[in-house]
Symmetry: C2
Subunit: 411 residues, 2 copies
DNA sequence: GGACTTAGTTCACCACTTAATACATAGCCA
DNA sequence: TGGCTATGTATTAAGTGGTGAACTAAGTCC
């Protein structure tokens, strides 16, 4: 079934997008290389790049001499063309970061949030955070292409963007409208934090180069970003990828979602610690979940119980990953999130082993399982890629048509 | 990241495809309606439909008078344009069916297969089956657009199409090459049987109209066809959707795949019967699995043990479906397969209930769960849609360029 | 039979891509 | 120094495709 919509100058947009994306991701390239890589004719490449150059989207980046012949002029996306902001609305605070187009970090601001913050407070923190990073980088609104926002819940994209985040008590919060009311006029892109972090791994981390991948995120909660053919899988109402609330042990432990036997109840930090606590018979030392989790990992080499809990965790995690492999048949699985990275550091071989036992042979043999490479807080970075992705997808045409950058909300 | 490939007269192909698909799926339509539905200008519609008409792909199908005004001429795809064959290579036999372009069944042939048939026998049965249906319908090779083949295993698409089907002992069988060697010159499309059956449900059954759906197939084995945005999800090596070997009860029952706790071990016919047998303490009457399964269902109203086994099955199935909902966020779940239909008939409300308990509220509320409507053996029908889908996707252009229809193997 | 309506077609025009060709640059060789 | 060639870039001409506007076709209603 052919996808809807006509096509007229979509051609030009598509080719602009193609060239722009190539330049963005594959560094400086000459027109000739672009022509070879994209299959477009040299004429078209010349034509389009000239246009992009006039619009200051791309600039020349030196030459490279050839053995006899006109030297090729390298082109690249101009990092100074515009800026993007990434916002991470987490369960404990709001982080706002400012980047140039090449995703160099220019400024960062963090604001704490109360437990279960009401949307108004979060919005307040976001708007002030944005003001601050713009001020600290000496940048004007007009130089900002857009703001990406990662939230700790599912996002219903549509005419009204609605955020459902049970862990912070948000139900159908119209985040974009609230931000508009608070005076934010920039293009906004809202997405689930797990998905933005996944996108960051895909663009700059362990997912680079893969077309089909699953980024598993394990922290207090457990989620996954599924990338198919280069784009994030969303499903019909963009709440796909809720791996954490997948049943892995039918009739098993209670999960905070209300169901039983969810993967999150076994491999989420809380679930792991609960098991440890039970086996141990007493509380785990440490201020918060992260400290306690660290204590568990640290205890493993000498404590049989700690080792056993971790081994069990590797088992559940391996089986959960096998499920992802069987269902999605990705070429790569990336384990991220603070708990995931910590577990992986210690248990990756065992996790791989268990996954191999539970997954079907053929898809398993096509998949590599590795750790995320972007550290713990790529949510904001990933969020900031949303406006960039939009720019690349649109071939940077919307900006020309309407330089005022009006209400383009959807991601 | 913009999808690769250039675009030149892809425009025309895309619009041909768009119009052709609309006509194919949404019955006879006037040019005017087509213009409205697709967003193409009236001029383009006229132009393209004239072309399609000349090529005999579409014909006029009567008029519909209007209150004052020129009557609109209805257009439709000409069923006689060409024929397609669908082949179901199952674990016990080969079924070959012949259809016209509108998927009216013209002939059917079935050949038994020995247990674990070697590929050569299967190929032999397929080729003779094809000869027979062509003969019985009095049709020449040249009138056949292509042959779709559903196989009981995963299919590795690529330059060489390889079939991995452990249940019949096939490992990396180059089915297309074998058929070519056996003298089949028609375009061939090979896919997993669960996927072809899923496609049949999407086109003509309970999946009609949905853009995101999962067709769950429950028989001896358990599989699923995941449809995203109208196309079957394949993953990186097209073995996605192996729902049956997803772990649902960590450390639980042994599965024939070698792992433990697979969904198939609980809701596949064999697994259900094994549980029944265990609870009952003696064998279940019946010749084969299907008869035994029927006996179980039939016993349920009076036997507590049978009822309990079925209720448990509904539980596992509901949880398994919840996993699909959480991961894929479809708008529809269709339960098919002989065991699935039988179970659903009896237990659908309970299955829905359990799924609701295990799935997250929001995605669950967006999903309807229903039974397949195509009976038990839609594999061949679905396989036959593969060449049709290709025709529609290509806008029927490949045929014009090279009327000889050479070696286009991939689906 | 004339006014009005709706459906479908024709045509001039514009946008886009490509192939062919012209132009530019640098090293090599005489 | 002046060709010559290899390489890379720009430009032009030709072809294709989509669209809007004018136009034709085929009806109804008064």
């Amino acid at each position: 079934m052919a996808s809807k919509r006509t096509t007229v100058r979509d051609l030009r947009r598509h080719n602009r997008s193609l060239l722009l994306s190539k330049l963005y991701f594959d560094g400086p390239l000459s027109r000739h290389e672009l022509s070879q890589l994209t299959g477009l004719s040299a004429a078209t490449v010349s034509n389009v790049t000239a246009e992009l150059g006039e619009e200051r989207l791309i600039t020349e980046a030196g030459q490279v001499e050839s053995d006899g012949g006109r030297p090729r002029v390298l082109l690249r996306v101009d990092p100074a063309y515009g800026h993007v902001a990434g916002v991470d609305i987490g369960e404990t605070g709001v982080k706002v970061e400012l980047f140039d187009l090449a995703m160099n970090r220019l400024a960062t601001v963090e604001h704490p949030l109360p437990k279960a913050p009401d949307p108004a407070t979060a919005v307040e923190q976001v708007t002030s955070g944005l003001r601050e990073v713009f001020a600290s980088a000496g940048i004007d609104d007009s130089a900002v292409l857009g703001v990406g926002i990662g939230v700790p819940g599912t996002v219903e994209q549509g005419a009204r963007v609605l955020v459902h985040a049970p862990t912070v008590g948000w139900d159908a919060v119209p985040l974009v409208s609230l931000l508009r009311d608070a005076g934010v006029r920039l293009p906004l892109f809202v997405d689930n934090g797990a998905k933005t972090q996944g996108q960051a791994e895909m663009w700059f981390g362990a997912g680079r180069g893969a077309r089909h991948a699953v980024i598993a995120l394990i922290g207090s909660g457990v989620g996954a970003a599924v990338v198919t053919d280069g784009t994030t899988y969303r499903g019909s109402t963009s709440s796909a990828g809720e791996w954490g609330h997948t049943t892995i042990a039918y009739g098993g432990n209670d999960c905070r979602c209300g169901a039983r036997g969810c993967l999150e109840a076994y491999i989420g930090a809380g679930g792991v610690l609960a098991r440890y606590r039970r086996v141990r018979g007493k509380d785990v030392p440490g201020e918060d979940e992260q400290a306690q989790f660290a204590a568990l990992l640290e205890a493993a080499p000498r404590s049989k119980t700690a080792a056993r809990v971790l081994d069990e965790t590797a088992g559940y995690l391996g089986a959960g990953i096998a499920n992802l492999i069987n269902l999605f048949n990705p070429e790569r699985i990336v384990i991220g999130g603070w708990a995931g990275l910590a577990l992986g550091e210690l248990l990756l071989p065992r996790i791989r082993e268990v996954a191999g036992e539970h997954a079907l042979r053929h898809p398993f043999s096509q998949t590599s399982i590795q750790l995320g490479s972007l550290g713990l807080d790529a949510v904001a970075t990933g969020a900031a890629t949303l406006p960039v992705a939009d720019l690349l997808d649109q071939g940077a045409t919307s900006r020309i048509v309407k330089p005022g950058a009006p209400d383009s909300d959807a991601a």
